[in-house]
């Protein structure tokens, strides 16, 4: 596994679109294409699926939607021959919440409360994508302190999300102690979030115009204690997991993907980087002020589950590096834009000024109007490229809000990763893809 430098040109190799043969086939060699409802009859058949094989050992196994692998409500239909998974079909939709329809009924200020519950392990990224798209449509500039606060909170959220991955990955493989350790560090980060935003999860903190509240006094001390606390614990995880033969045998060579296939399937994030493809939106299409901080983009070598695990572990260290630089470079100033039509006034001003009262009333009842147009903004969330496509009709509510959920797209790699592997590897593969079902189903 190597890290690449962040300066100058990217080492993105020119990939030929035609070399991802395996994933382009239409014969369903890895993807099982049968209707959900008919599977009840198919499962009860003793042998065969009408494929012409008389007494082979093929059966369709239904895994989920409620199963112990702690990845939410994902249902898998596995066509198996003995213990080998031949084809599979992920069935999703068990958490479909109609968030895109709900987004059309909420104002732009209420929008982050809705999108934050999509990717509930890293909610600040969804809020960030939505806020960036709204600000693009509004044409407003966010003050520098707000930008740097957003960067700080997003990188801490990346750390907490990757710690959640370490915990659930460990538990799915049977290393139950890893579950306890991962949550232990996550609690420290969540405590910082609670002090700043008021909530442990689903913060609704990053709003169009800036952030909801300034950092508390003494935040440097809290962030410094996080920076001192986490790296030694990461070393402990490496001692526990990386060099352990059981862990290596369970994850190395399991669920291999090459860069061409990942790009053909539109996979992004650690899955793409673990294949060896050097692509990270923070460096290659910088948003916020990521070009002012130094960090390395972590890439893998073989695209297997072990590389995905190791890439995420190393990304925690890189995020801590960014957090340390933000700690030193945080500018002073406003934490949200001063544009009165967009930002609600401070509560104290409402008693003094009539205009402040009217602005407050208009913003919270009707909402601020956003000019007509469309915008697509993407951020690099812990799962990949998280994009928000907003279409506005000039009113206070979005006309169409679409979130490009990275887990939804990354799940398409699952049948190809599980093809011809044993069923015991299926759990390891699902957990290495790290889907969050709230974002998949929206």
């Amino acid at each position: 596994m190597t890290v690449s430098s962040d300066e100058s040109t990217t080492s993105v190799t020119r990939v030929s679109p035609d070399s991802a043969e395996r994933v382009r086939r239409r014969d369903g060699s890895a993807i099982l294409r049968i209707p959900d409802i008919d599977t009840v009859e198919a499962v009860s058949l003793p042998t065969g699926l009408g494929t012409g094989h008389q007494d082979d050992e093929r059966m369709i196994l239904n895994m989920g939607p409620s199963h112990p692998s702690t990845h939410g409500v994902l249902r898998l239909l596995l066509e198996m021959e003995g213990e080998t998974v031949l084809r599979s079909k992920p069935v999703i939709g068990y958490l479909h919440t109609g968030m895109e329809k709900t987004g059309e009924n909420l104002t732009y200020l209420q929008g982050p409360t809705n999108v934050t519950r999509m990717d509930y392990a890293s909610p600040l990224f969804s809020e960030l994508a939505f806020s960036l798209a709204t600000e693009r449509l509004l044409g407003i500039e966010v003050p520098p302190r707000a930008i740097w606060i957003r960067m700080l909170m997003c990188e801490l959220n990346r750390i907490s999300s990757h710690l959640l991955f370490q915990a659930t990955n460990g538990m799915d493989l049977g290393a139950v102690s890893m579950m306890i350790y991962g949550w232990r560090e996550r609690e420290e980060v969540l405590r910082f979030f609670e002090t700043v935003t008021g909530l442990r999860m689903n913060h609704n903190y990053i709003r169009p115009g800036g952030v909801a509240a300034d950092l508390h006094s003494g935040w440097q001390r809290d962030v410094r204690s996080l920076i001192d606390l986490i790296p030694p614990r990461l070393d402990e995880y490496e001692i526990l997991l990386n060099d352990q033969p059981i862990f290596q045998q369970r994850l190395q060579g399991v669920g291999v993907l090459n860069p061409e296939e990942a790009l053909a399937l539109s996979a992004t994030g650690p899955i793409l980087r673990a294949t060896g493809y050097d692509w990270d939106l923070r460096r290659d299409e910088p948003y916020l002020d990521y070009e002012k901080v130094e960090f390395d983009v972590v890439i893998g070598t073989s695209g297997d589950a072990f590389d995905r695990f190791a890439v995420r572990l190393e990304e925690i260290r890189q995020s801590l590096r960014i957090v340390e630089q933000v700690l030193d470079l945080m500018p002073e100033g406003d934490y949200r834009t001063q544009d009165k039509k967009v930002t609600p006034p401070p509560r104290g001003r409402i008693d003094e000024s009539m205009e402040a009262l009217i602005h407050h009333f208009k913003i919270f009842t009707e909402g601020f109007h956003v000019p007509t147009g469309e915008a697509y903004e993407a951020v690099e969330s812990p799962r990949g490229e998280l994009g928000c496509y907003l279409v506005s009709d000039g009113g206070p509510k979005p006309y169409r809000m679409h979130i490009r959920g990275p887990s939804f797209i990354n799940l398409q790699t699952l049948p190809h990763l599980m093809h011809d592997r044993l069923i015991a590897d299926a759990v390891a593969i699902i957990s290495s893809v790290d889907p969050i079902m709230g974002e998949v189903d929206r």
Binding site: P65, S66, P68, L95, M437
Partner: protein, 195 residues
Amino acid sequence: MARVPVLGGMPQVFQEGLEGLEHNFVTGRVEDLVKWSRARSCWPATFGLACCAIEMMATGAAHYDLARYGMEVFRASPRQADLMIVAGRVSQKMAPVLRQIYDQMMEPKWVISMGVCASSGGMFNNYAIVQGVDQIVPVDVYAPGCPPGPETLMHAILTLHESIRNGEIMRRRSTTGQGAAIDLAEFPSDQAEAL
């Protein structure tokens, strides 16, 4: 029998024969013992759906430890579980699955509706979400919050334990015919013990 030296002399627990009887046995009514053991080893079924599932896992982790209540084993098989904590929003596609898992659980079984989405549909009053899981299964304790922090979930669990232990929950169920319908928001935590 080996004698362990203890400050103050010979411990009475090591007296042989019938003299140590009152120190070596615990007596009680059968109902109380049954309720006590039911309350103290209530095993939850894994039914984490969405964001509340993350908080439920956090409650089971080291900081807000559920093992001290005997509940750290989240049984995957509903046949082995006593308690179903519906953690998260229940969509239309998930509702039959939820009912099927509830039906597979053995009596006595309890349901905690964790979070506002499970209690009432939460902020999602739309076509896709069942407006309250009590439309599908009888709920015993409703825990509000979005998501409820681990302390709220523990308050809900302790309320449930108390009401199991003093029989309150069975009485409520027999009057309503359905779940016990204890709404945590109505009971401040210091009154939960009195339930």
